[in-house]
Point group: C3
Chain length 212, copies 3
């Protein structure tokens, strides 16, 4: 039993690391596309990786931040940005973007679950908790796009992304309020969010457009 | 007497609801103009409606936020965004924009008064209190425009808007420091801000331009 | 001895005032270039002058802000923005931009040192402290550019700027951890940051470009 739990913890850590790396890389790629210099690439990478969780902690007044408790994450993202600048060439961009879609989908689910969980333990109302999950999962990318002077792609590309975080967040809230065990809520939220995201990537789903 | 007071409270609540709806609609309209998807429309609507007060509370370190204490406001704005997407057509945009100018002017005054009041009760200096009022009234729109990748219209369109919040804020501070009753300070601030804003809309006033 | 110390304090205050004025003017110039109105010029000037330190204090959860404790700084920047609008003409822009490079370089060093110092006294890890210094020195300009709908120039112009704040910040951390006296850490950080910045302006150094 203990064995299974620690195995679960390790898995969760691996997903978290992969997701953070995917988020950071999405920032690096966008910064490179915009021809930013080395400083810009690193800052946008950091903001994409840590921006969502930091904004959530600011709003919930939680300190210390995740990246203050885990300084090694900062070093890791810094190293990742450097390595990307040294080894990533333009012809790799499309491939990299394809490759990071899957850890990104997992990360969206995991970060959403983390945000919802933290808000619920602080006795936030249900809708606020779901919004906090959404902010954790989505606003790293939003801040990345704002810094790069783009309309956030999460708001514009008509692919369902934040919507699945919303659905996954409600799943978490529902299971939490039904007193389901924590691992079930976590797994369901990640599974539903990442699964639906993967499905929409695979089937090219589109959000309903505004019928102007 | 009791009757009048509760009547005043109801009026204030109505103004607040109308103003929040006007602010949210301004976000929805701008998001629609920029062809954002459903997620973008809702997020920009939320940010326009709640961004200013949230930024003020962040700066003043006040928790819980207004929208955490009044979850029903979140549901209301969410419903408003959905309804706008279902029923608002392109030909209605100009009309809607005209119509929301008046609750928006009232809201500018009311939100400014709220911000100034909160800062003063926290013993902030006068200028800081006025700036907090300004942030409450104006920065929802500023954040909306930043998310939509526009220079904030409050900084650019040469119509006096934030200026009247500044004037109204000083009115509130002056009456507060003269120990005037609270309702008088509130009414004066709202009246002066909204009145001057309405006047400048009516007479097409312009801010002095930079003589470059 | 006392004499020297108070002389040092006065010098520091003068550098701080000159740097804040330089930061505010950089905002005023950019706002003028973008043809913002009077409100926009003042807000962008304020954000450029106080944005970095405010963001740092938000992240470190420090209150009251610098500009709440020193209301006179707010009045000073407001007066500066007004005077600039009255007296600065287009033909002065290039000259002003040249002139503020030097107080700006000093300010970058001083603000970085302030940010690092504050984070270290709060027992933040070394890298976090350096990042806080960087945010203090650089993010006023970043927020200024975001409000003006530009990619932040610190991320894009390939001149080393934030990099020197990073180097200076590590100098401060190193001396602090070696228990060097406070004035030595401060002087070294300011000297190295401002000196290297001045050198790169003088010799036209460039950051290594991404070899795409």
């Amino acid at each position: 039993m203990n064995n299974i739990q620690s195995w679960g913890e390790t898995l969760r850590l691996l997903v978290e690391l992969a997701a953070t790396a995917a988020f950071a890389l999405s920032g690096v790629l966008e910064a490179a596309r915009k021809r930013l210099d080395a400083v810009g690439v690193c800052v946008v990478g950091f903001v994409a990786a840590f921006g969502g969780g930091t904004l959530r902690d600011l709003l919930l007044d939680q300190r210390p931040f995740f990246w203050v408790r885990h300084e090694e994450m900062l070093w890791g993202v810094l190293a990742l940005c450097m390595l990307a600048m040294l080894f990533l060439r333009h012809r790799h961009f499309v491939l990299t973007e394809k490759a990071i879609q899957w850890p990104d989908a997992l990360g969206l689910g995991l970060f959403t679950a983390t945000g919802v969980h933290q808000a619920l333990t602080l006795q936030m109302p249900a809708l606020v908790a779901v919004l906090m999950g959404l902010i954790t999962g989505v606003f790293g990318g939003v801040l990345r796009d704002v810094l790069c002077n783009e309309i956030p792609s999460a708001f514009r590309d008509h692919q369902p992304y934040a919507v699945w975080a919303f659905v996954g967040g409600w799943t978490y809230v529902g299971l939490w309020q039904a007193d389901a065990p924590g691992w079930l809520a976590l797994l369901s939220c990640v599974g539903i969010t990442a699964g639906l995201r993967a499905l929409s990537l695979w089937r090219n789903w589109e959000l309903p457009a505004w019928r102007i």
